[in-house]
C-alpha cells in the first residue's frame, strides 16, 4: 500500500510539473503585459515596471525562477492587483470555492443516491418515470440557466434567499443548488442503472429466497453493492463542480477562485491564470488519488499492489 501510494504521489508530482511547464510557456506565447498605458510611458518607465514583475530576464530564467518560487508558495505578483501577491489572492479566495464545492457534492450525491435507488426499486412504474425525467432535466439544463431561474424565482420573486453576494449560509444556498443539479442527476442515473443490475443478480434472488425482508435485501445487499461504482464517478463529478463553479461564482458574485479565474482571463492577468490552473490541477489530482485509494479499500476485488497474482 505504502509503495503504491509513493508511486502514485510521484506520478502526481510529475504530472503537476508538466502542467506547470506547459502552462508557463503557453502564457509566454500570449501578448500582453502588466502595462495599462504602455504608449504614454517613457522607455525607462516601461523597463522599470517590467523589471518589477521580473519580465526583463530571458524566458528560461523566468521559468526557473517561477518553478523555484512555486516551491516556496510564491506565484508572483498579480497584473490586475498590482500590490497583491497571487498566493494571497488565491488563499483569500479559495475558502468560498471549497465550501460551495463541498456543499454541492453533498447536496448532489446523497439525494442522487436515494433518488436513483427509488427509481430502480419502483422500476417501470410512474415513480421510475418521474425520477428519470427529473434526472434528465438535471443533466440537460445547464447550470447557468438554472442559476438565473433560481435567482429570479427563489431570490427575487419569493425573496427566500439572497440573489447574489456573500456573507453567511443563506448566501450559499442558491449557488449550491445550481452547482448540485448536475452531480445530483448524474448520480441518480448511475445508481438506478447499477441497482437495476444488482437487483437482477443471483445473490439478491438468494437473499430473497432465504426469507429476508424486502427492506433488508435492498439496504444490506443491493444498495451497498451498487454504491461501490459510485466512488468511481466522484472524480468526474468533482471536475464537473470545478468547471461549473467558474460560471456559477460569476453569476452569484461569489468571491471564489472560479470567479477570479474568469476575471484574470478577461484582464490577461497571466500570473493569476497560471496559479489558478495549478491549483485546479492539484485539487483534481488529489480527488482522483483519494478516489482510487477508497476504491481499493472498499472493493476487495481491486488490488492496489498488483502483486497478489
Amino acid at each position: 500500500m505504502a509503495k503504491y501510494l509513493g508511486k502514485r504521489i510521484f506520478y502526481l508530482l510529475l504530472t503537476l510539473f508538466i502542467v506547470i511547464t506547459i502552462t508557463f510557456f503557453l502564457m509566454k506565447l500570449l501578448p500582453g503585459t502588466p502595462l495599462t498605458n504602455e504608449q504614454k510611458l517613457s522607455p525607462e518607465q516601461r523597463e522599470l515596471i517590467l523589471k518589477q514583475y521580473g519580465l526583463t530576464k530571458p524566458v528560461w530564467q523566468q521559468y526557473l525562477i517561477y518553478v523555484a518560487g512555486i516551491f516556496h508558495g510564491n506565484f508572483g505578483t498579480s497584473f490586475q492587483f498590482s500590490d497583491q501577491a497571487v498566493s494571497y489572492l488565491i488563499s483569500s479566495r479559495i475558502g468560498p470555492s471549497l465550501l460551495l464545492g463541498l456543499q454541492a457534492m453533498i447536496v448532489g450525491v446523497i439525494p442522487g443516491i436515494l433518488f436513483g435507488a427509488l427509481g430502480a426499486i419502483k422500476k417501470n412504474t410512474w415513480v421510475d418515470t418521474g425520477t428519470t425525467i427529473v434526472s434528465i432535466l438535471g443533466i440537460s439544463i445547464p447550470s447557468f440557466v438554472l442559476a438565473v431561474l433560481l435567482q429570479y424565482y427563489v431570490g427575487l420573486k419569493l425573496g427566500w434567499f439572497p440573489i447574489a453576494d456573500w456573507g453567511g449560509f443563506a448566501y450559499t444556498v442558491l449557488p449550491t443548488l445550481a452547482l448540485a443539479a448536475s452531480p445530483f442527476a448524474d448520480t441518480a442515473r448511475f445508481i438506478r442503472t447499477e441497482m437495476v443490475d444488482v437487483l437482477n443478480s443471483d445473490y439478491i434472488e438468494l437473499a430473497t429466497a432465504k426469507g429476508l425482508s424486502r427492506m433488508q435485501v435492498i439496504f444490506h445487499h443491493a444498495l451497498r453493492n451498487s454504491l461501490i461504482p459510485v466512488v468511481t464517478i466522484i472524480g468526474p463529478l468533482a471536475v464537473n463542480i470545478m468547471t461549473g463553479s467558474m460560471v456559477i461564482e460569476n453569476i452569484f458574485s461569489v468571491p471564489g477562485i472560479g470567479e477570479q479565474f474568469v476575471k484574470s482571463i478577461l484582464t490577461n492577468d497571466y500570473p493569476t491564470i497560471m496559479a489558478v490552473t495549478i491549483v485546479y490541477s492539484v485539487m483534481l489530482m488529489v480527488v482522483l488519488l483519494i478516489t482510487d485509494i477508497i476504491y481499493g479499500v472498499i472493493d476487495p476485488r481491486i488490488r492496489l499492489t498488483g502483486k497478489s497474482n
Binding site: P31, L48, Q52, D83, L156, I163, A164
Partner: protein, 540 residues
C-alpha cells in the same frame, strides 16, 4: 486612458432575454430613512494608491475618499477643495494654491508638504506610475520622470504649511482639472513609508482626506464600504453615512439586485436598455468616449487619398449603427471630440466644430468617391483587413462596418476580432488596414482628443498628417494657451480640418445608461475619469 469595453460572460444571455419581461415587482423600501447608498462595480478594486491607479473603479473610489487641490463636479465645474483659493500668474506659469485647515482620517494635518511629497512620488521613476504623464506640464517633470533629476527639482514647492506653489514649463489652461486627479493628490509621507510596497494595498494601510474613508477592503475581496470621514473639512455637507460597494459581474444578476432593492443603481446593457427606455429612473449618462476608424496610410496607399477616406465614412450609417445595432444608449458622433465634453459661452465644442460631410451617410456618393480613388491606384479591386476588439460591441462594429464597406465597388473586407491587448499591439505595429479604435478623455478639455491626431502622436495609428492641424494644436498648447478664446478657436478649427480632411472616421459615442433609484438624490456625474462624486448625495 485606453478603452477596453468591459467583458461579460454572454452565457446567460438566452436566459436573461426570457426573464426580462417582468420586472420591478419586489422593490424593497427597507432602509429608506437611512443614509446608505448601495453601489455596484463590475470589477474589483485593484489598488488605492493615488500614484498607481489606472482603472476607473479605483479612480471612482479615490475620488470619494481623497481630495486634491481642486475638485471637478457635474458640468465639469471646478470648485475649491483642499485649496480654498488659488491664483495664476499673468504668464500662466505659476499657480499658487492657498490651503484650508484640514486633516487626514488619522488626525494628522494635511499640509503643503503632503502635496509636494505626493507629486514627487507620482513623478519619480521608482513609483512606476502609469498616469504620471498627467503632470507633464509641471517644470522638470520629464527629467524627474526619467530619473535624470532629483524629485526635489519638480516644479512644486511648499511655502509654509498652507501654501502650494506650482511652476509650469508652459501654460496649461486645463491644469485646474489635472490638480483634482489622483496623480496630484496629497500623500501622507509617514503612512506611505510605514507600509512601503503594501501602502494602500488594503483599507487599513492608507489614510484619507476626503468626504469618506474606505473600510472592509482586504485587497482582493468583492465588497467594500465607504463611511463618512469625520475629519473631513466639509463634513457638515456630507449626508450619506455609508456607501456599500459590491462587485457584480453578471448583468442579469445586477438587474435582479436592483429590482430587489439590494443595489440602488445599474448601468444597463443593450437588451436591458430597450426594456427600460421609458423608465422614470433612467439617466442617460454620456461618456467622453468616441470610437472611430483609423485608416492605415502607411500600409494602404489608397488611404492617402481624401476621397477614399471620405468614401469609407459615407458608406457607414453611424445613426443606424448606434441607435439600432448597438442600441445601448450610444449616439452618432459629430466628430472626434465627444459631445458634452467641453463648452464655451453655452455652446458645445462638438456642435461648434461640426462638419456635416465628416460623419454623414451617403452611399451613392461613397460609391462614386471610392471608384475614383480606386481608379487612381490603377487597381480594379482590393481586400482590406478590419481589426476590432472581440468584445460584444467590437463584434457588432466589425459586422456592421464589414457589411457597409463591402457595398463599395471592388472592395472586400476581412474582419479580425482580437483581444484588447492584441488590438493594441497590432495598432502600434501598424498591422491593420482599418482599425476600430476607442478613446476616453482623461480630463474635460478638447485637447485630450485633439492631441491624438497630431502627426507625431503615437496614438495616430493611421498616420494621417496635416501641417495646419499640427500648427493649430501646437498653438493651443503654446502661444495661445493663455488666451481662452483664441485657444478654443484653434481647437475648433483643428477639429474642422480633421473632419473635412476625414483624418479618421467617427463611428459612435459611447454612453452608459443608468437606472438610479428615485430616492437617491444629489449624485454628481461627469463624463471623464472618476465619473461619480457622492459627497453631496443623499437618500430621500
Amino acid at each position: 486612458m485606453k478603452l477596453s469595453s468591459s467583458l461579460k460572460l454572454g452565457a446567460v444571455a438566452i436566459a436573461s432575454v426570457a426573464l426580462l419581461a417582468a420586472c420591478g415587482s419586489n422593490s424593497s423600501n427597507s432602509g429608506s430613512n437611512k443614509q446608505v447608498l448601495n453601489w455596484v462595480e463590475t470589477a474589483n478594486l485593484p489598488t488605492m494608491d493615488p500614484s498607481k491607479s489606472v482603472d476607473n473603479v479605483s479612480a471612482r473610489t479615490l475620488n470619494n475618499v481623497d481630495e486634491g487641490l481642486l475638485k471637478t463636479g457635474s458640468g465639469n465645474k471646478v470648485r475649491p477643495a483642499m485649496a480654498k483659493s488659488y491664483s495664476i500668474s499673468k504668464d500662466g506659469l505659476t499657480w499658487t494654491f492657498n490651503l484650508r485647515k484640514s486633516k487626514w482620517s488619522n488626525g494628522d494635518p494635511v499640509t503643503a508638504q503632503d502635496f509636494v511629497y505626493g507629486w514627487q512620488r507620482t513623478a519619480k521613476p521608482s513609483t512606476a506610475s502609469q498616469y504620471a504623464y498627467l503632470l507633464d506640464h509641471v517644470q522638470n517633470f520629464d527629467a524627474v520622470n526619467k530619473g535624470k533629476m532629483a524629485p526635489s527639482k519638480l516644479g512644486i514647492k511648499a511655502e509654509g504649511d498652507d501654501k502650494v506653489v506650482v511652476t509650469l514649463s508652459k501654460p496649461q489652461s486645463y491644469f485646474k482639472y489635472i490638480v483634482g486627479m489622483s496623480a496630484a493628490y496629497p500623500q501622507n509621507k509617514k503612512v506611505v513609508e510605514k507600509y512601503g510596497n503594501k501602502f494602500a494595498a488594503n483599507a487599513q494601510s492608507a489614510v484619507y482626506n476626503g468626504p469618506f474613508k474606505l473600510t472592509g477592503w482586504t485587497g482582493t475581496n468583492n465588497k467594500w464600504t465607504l463611511v463618512k470621514n469625520n475629519q473631513y473639512w466639509d463634513k457638515k455637507n456630507v449626508k450619506l453615512s455609508k456607501i456599500n460597494f459590491q462587485v457584480i459581474n453578471d448583468q442579469q444578476t445586477w438587474l435582479s439586485q436592483y429590482q430587489s432593492g439590494k443595489a440602488d443603481e445599474i448601468i444597463l446593457d443593450g437588451t436591458q436598455f430597450k426594456n427600460f427606455k421609458n423608465s422614470k429612473e433612467l439617466n442617460k449618462r454620456e461618456l467622453a468616449s468616441t470610437f472611430y476608424l483609423d485608416l492605415n496610410q502607411q500600409k494602404q496607399a489608397i488611404f492617402k487619398n481624401q476621397k477614399a477616406r471620405r468614401a469609407i465614412s459615407m458608406a457607414i450609417n453611424k445613426e443606424d449603427f448606434s441607435k439600432n445595432v448597438l442600441a445601448d444608449g450610444a449616439t452618432a458622433p459629430k466628430g472626434l471630440v465627444s459631445t458634452g465634453l467641453a463648452s464655451r459661452d453655452g455652446k458645445d465644442f462638438a456642435d461648434q466644430a461640426y462638419v456635416k460631410a465628416g460623419t454623414e451617410y451617403n452611399l451613392a456618393q461613397a460609391k462614386k468617391l471610392w471608384s475614383q480613388a480606386l481608379k487612381a491606384t490603377g487597381k480594379s479591386s482590393m481586400t482590406l483587413n478590419l481589426v476590432t476588439d472581440d468584445t460584444p460591441a467590437g463584434k457588432k462594429a466589425s459586422d456592421y462596418v464589414q457589411n457597409a464597406l463591402s457595398k463599395l465597388p471592388g472592395l472586400k473586407i476581412e474582419a479580425n476580432n482580437v483581444p484588447f491587448n492584441v488590438r493594441l499591439t497590432r495598432s502600434t505595429k501598424g498591422q491593420f488596414d482599418v482599425l476600430v479604435d476607442g478613446w476616453i478623455a482623461d480630463y474635460p478639455d478638447p485637447i485630450s482628443f485633439s492631441s491624438l491626431l497630431t502627426s507625431t502622436n503615437s496614438y495616430n495609428y493611421g498616420h494621417w498628417k496635416n501641417s495646419q492641424y499640427d500648427t493649430l494644436v501646437k498653438n493651443a498648447e503654446g502661444k495661445d494657451a493663455n488666451d481662452t478664446g483664441k485657444r478654443w478657436n484653434d481647437l475648433v478649427d483643428a477639429e474642422k480640418i480633421l473632419m473635412q480632411d476625414q483624418g479618421i472616421v467617427p463611428l459612435y459615442q459611447k454612453a452608459q445608461p443608468q437606472l438610479l433609484k428615485s430616492k437617491v438624490k444629489g449624485v454628481e456625474y461627469f463624463t471623464t475619469g472618476a465619473q461619480f462624486d457622492f459627497s453631496h448625495a443623499y437618500i430621500k
